[in-house]
Symmetry: C2
Subunit: 348 residues, 2 copies
């Protein structure tokens, strides 16, 4: 008898077939379906025995006595990790993605947005993309703009465009001249450093050198902090309506909580937050997501890069019964194209 871990060849094939068939039909699959549609070389009775053992091993579950089998989380996991054959993105899909992204504007937000919509459409599921982590970006320019004797705006530009704008109002009067000198000093000092390496000490050093008062120094520190912060870490999402087509969402309560999660963004972000910075695609299945509302769902998530760093994740959320191979290929292909596109628009 083989242990839990090592499925013999036939069991593995049967498990793969059950998962495959269930993904395709959304119906519990029984021994007859299997023997008829797939060439197993054994009778349905034999398959029944195997199915019973797969169920005992935790790979399959039965919704009720007289129904076929459905994969469990463990079943999907084994399928994704060991049984599934990797797919490639079709050549013309790849071309289409490239074409669509080329037409998108040169602005970061719009590129991300466009990509997300595209993936939502092609995947027929919910796509979401985290915006590039600000603190991995490279500082390019700080601009202090004089607006009135007591107020101004600080604008921080990174290699991906304007990262933060921050209005400041001071008690003391501002000299336009100070703004220019301070800006110039900071630009000379900080240019091309990663935002995450820029500390208050740099600002303080420049300020004391030039005799800049504390208030203005504080305003600049504040602006840099805002630019660096992953706080407002937002995502773009698209394709929520696709989920409605899935038979598993006839239940409106489930649907409602999913929509809420999508709208909130934060929960969605947290799902993949751990993975940001990693280089490998990953799949999170059902309960592994750690949320009651999402037990019927899975997420495929792949990193995209800006320059050398993996800076964000492109993800697809769909029913646990999603076509993992196809979606992994789609996500990876798109992430690659997105990465290329981002280096196109880099401010160099």
């Amino acid at each position: 008898m083989k242990g839990e871990g090592g499925l013999d060849k036939r069991k593995a094939y049967i498990l793969a077939t059950v998962v495959y068939e269930y993904i395709a039909t959304a119906e519990p699959v029984g021994s007859n379906t299997l023997t008829q549609k797939y060439n197993l070389g054994v009778s349905s009775a034999t398959v029944r025995n195997e199915l019973a053992e797969l169920e005992a091993g935790g790979y399959l579950v039965q919704p009720h006595t007289s129904a076929g089998r459905v994969p469990s989380d463990a079943g999907y996991r084994t399928y994704v990790d060991d049984l599934m054959q990797p797919e490639e993105l079709a050549g013309d899909d790849r071309r289409r993605i490239r074409d669509e992204l080329r037409d998108a504007s040169r602005e970061l937000d719009e590129i991300i947005d466009h990509t997300t919509r595209l993936v939502g459409r092609l995947s027929k599921n919910l796509a979401f993309v985290t915006k590039p982590q600000p603190d991995t970006q490279v500082f390019r320019h700080l601009q202090l703009i004089w607006l009135s004797p007591r107020s101004g705006v600080a604008i921080v530009v990174t290699s991906l465009g304007v990262a933060a704008q921050s209005l400041f109002e001071l008690a003391s009067e501002i000299h336009a001249d100070d703004l220019t000198r301070f800006s110039n000093a900071l630009n000379a000092r900080l240019s091309n450093r990663p935002l995450r390496d820029i500390g208050e000490d740099h600002v303080a050093a420049a300020a004391s050198e030039l005799g800049i008062d504390d208030e203005l120094r504080g305003a600049v520190t504040q602006a840099l902090r805002a630019a660096r912060s992953n706080e407002g870490a937002t995502i773009a999402s698209a394709g929520a309506q696709n989920l409605l087509d899935q038979p598993e969402f006839q239940d409106l309560r489930k649907l409602r909580s999913i929509l809420r999660i999508v709208e909130e963004q934060k929960t969605l972000y947290d799902l993949v937050a751990d993975a940001i910075g990693t280089e490998k695609p990953s799949v999170i299945i059902g309960q592994e997501l750690g949320l009651d509302e999402l037990t019927d769902l899975s997420v495929v998530t792949v990193p995209y890069r800006f320059g050398e760093h993996a800076v964000g994740m492109l993800s697809i959320l769909g029913p646990r019964r999603m076509p993992y191979g196809r979606l992994l290929a789609l996500a990876s292909g798109t992430a690659e194209t997105l990465s290329e596109r981002l280096s196109d628009v880099e401010l160099k």
Copy 2:
């Protein structure tokens, strides 16, 4: 016999009651319900006669023979225009809105976003808010930033913050000095003008005066055009999941197309685009929206102001059976608070 237009007092009261009751219960309302729950002073038989006449007049419809009456578009229209008594926003709702908005950040997008979520939550419907029309804003500052010998960024700041950033790459070499001179000249010339009044001729005049080459002049024109353009006219939306609670959306196909419309944004924007700039709240009911997918829905939309101008609309989309009075009060109250908040964060 009174004509179509002029309902006698009793008919008007009965119509109002039917609409009111239907809004509250979502069930077709019959003559018995009316006589029992509301003090009409006549018997149900009389009410039946009146109901039949209201139906003949087009104000009510009957889903089927043995059901009660439901308002038609015309019925709702009459209710909203003539019969409904205007409501006021409760004092503590008003205070709560003010408090919540005060805590929101000082950045335009976040304020709009926050407001939208708040209205979504309080209205228990879908809220959407158009961003302020760029061309009504006032030019404050143009900043040309030198990045490399052949590239730079143009940033346009208006009274509501950064309106556009636009990367430019030129064939000829850029002198940092030219950028500064050109920026200064344009700022002196354009400051405090509404964006919509700024034409290419201003840029051309400044350029020729300073001997700025055509390429750079083009880049700046481009940046100003981007800032002024209402193209990317986007909206914020929140509360889509609330619609699921409404009994009229058990039908998933309807729901799907509504979600798609919400995600696309453009259709939603177009619904209220005509109204932008007007000063009055308005209500659009069912078929008046002009979209098959939205026949069961209505929109309440009210303007908000920035300074002197109405610059955007705050809207609530919900079932045609929505509590118009309450939502109008909520929308108006919030729009007012939003307007105040915007002048707080104006760059003066």
